[in-house]
């Protein structure tokens, strides 16, 4: 059957899609918690204050994906960017080398899907990219905090994926 076309998430989702503790895949005191944060930029180098990001670790976990319960880990989180274009997730390190990140925004008629690699290791996807483009998929880490910016367009444009 032919697929249903995509349309933009638009500017007015803040009353609908965010939910309580959406950015917290693990509770505050989780011993292995890390923070993944960064900013979303447009082609003019301006922050994107109305993007919605979704993070997926590959396993649903026991904390609830939508209504956070007492469990330790959820594999899914959601975060709307703030006026500076910044997002933030509290998560754990994935079992593999990367996390999956999907971005929706006004002006994106389709979402974009990328990967956040916490370490620069040999990898089938990374190894197929030239060094400058490879670097767009590498988070920069300091202790328990990792930074990963998403550049939708232009210089340093993030590598987006089509499976």
């Amino acid at each position: 059957m032919p697929a249903t076309p995509s349309q933009t998430v638009g500017p007015f989702f803040a009353h609908a899609l965010p939910y309580e503790h959406d950015w917290e895949l693990v509770p505050e005191r989780h011993p292995e918690a890390i923070t993944l944060t960064g900013r979303v930029w447009d082609g003019a180098g301006e922050p994107v204050p109305d993007a919605l990001l979704e993070l997926w670790l590959g396993r649903t976990g026991d904390r609830g994906a939508l209504r956070r319960g007492d469990g330790g880990v959820s594999g899914f989180g959601r975060c709307a960017t703030d006026p500076d274009g910044r997002y933030r997730f509290r998560t754990i390190r994935p079992s593999g080398p990367y996390l999956s990140l999907q971005i929706f925004a006004r002006g994106l008629l389709r979402s974009v899907l990328t990967r956040v690699y916490l370490e620069d290791l040999p990898d089938p996807l990374l190894d197929g990219l030239d060094p400058a483009r490879r670097a767009t998929l590498l988070a920069t880490g300091k202790g328990d905090t990792y930074e990963f910016d998403v550049r939708l367009q232009g210089e340093g444009e993030t590598v987006f994926l089509d499976f």
Binding site: P2, T4, P5, R67, G107
Partner: protein, 221 residues
């Protein structure tokens, strides 16, 4: 071509946000995490979440409607237990969102957000009110046709779909660059719901049906 291109200058916001390079085609290994999707439990969705007319003390103003349909994969098989989220403007065309500057009244009895999980046939069902058209600043005299925003998960993160449902016969559709960004007329028509007299409930609400077909997962293709 089912989906719109990223860059569609008639929709101004795409100009600085559309990636300039095509997405990198990548053949995922079977362990790729993008081939799975979060699972949402029935205890995570409230029983009233799918009735947008009962989320406040009083009844919202507007034409009460039932919107129902199935979430299917490309083989026509139901996608069971998947999360469907909807959001919309009220009957006057105003969103319950701080950024909406349209000088139309807010409705204290309508937020315009709902969610549910599909049943074993892949079916969802919402009760809501028909949203109004609303103006935007994309070009002179720009108006969005009445629409309900849909967000659907599916069984793989690559199938994740956000789209908009329109209403049959809406005269604003040909003027709307967001809808017209979809290059293929047949594909555009797949976003138009159908009036369904068998869904309509006497003396209570008009019925519309809208099915969503998710793309292939990479392992199938």
């Amino acid at each position: 071509m089912t989906h719109p291109p990223y860059l569609y200058p008639g929709y101004q916001s795409t100009v600085l946000r559309a990636p300039s390079r095509p997405p990198v085609a990548f053949k995922a290994d079977p362990d790729a995490i993008e081939l799975s999707s979060p699972v949402f439990g029935h205890d995570e969705v409230g029983s009233l979440d799918a009735d947008l007319t009962r989320q406040h003390a009083g009844e919202p103003i507007g034409e009460r409607i039932i919107v129902t349909g199935r979430i299917l994969d490309d083989g026509g098989r139901p996608v069971r237990g998947t999360l469907v989220e909807v959001w919309q403007a009220n009957s006057a065309g105003r969103y319950a969102h701080a950024g909406d500057q349209h000088p139309a009244p807010l409705d204290p009895n309508f937020t315009g957000a709902g969610r549910c999980l599909t049943d074993d046939e892949g079916r969802y069902r919402f009760v809501t009110i028909k949203p109004g058209a609303y103006p935007w600043r994309n070009h002179p005299n720009a108006w969005r046709p009445a629409h309900i925003h849909f967000s659907v998960f599916g069984t793989a993160f690559t199938q994740r779909l956000v789209t908009q449902m329109y209403f049959p016969g809406d005269p604003l559709m040909p003027f709307d660059p967001i809808m017209q960004s979809i290059p293929d007329e047949a594909a555009r028509q797949r976003l138009v719901s159908s009036y369904a007299h068998d869904v309509t409930q006497p003396e209570w609400a008009l019925g519309y049906t809208f099915d969503v077909v998710l793309g292939r997962t990479p392992m199938e293709s």
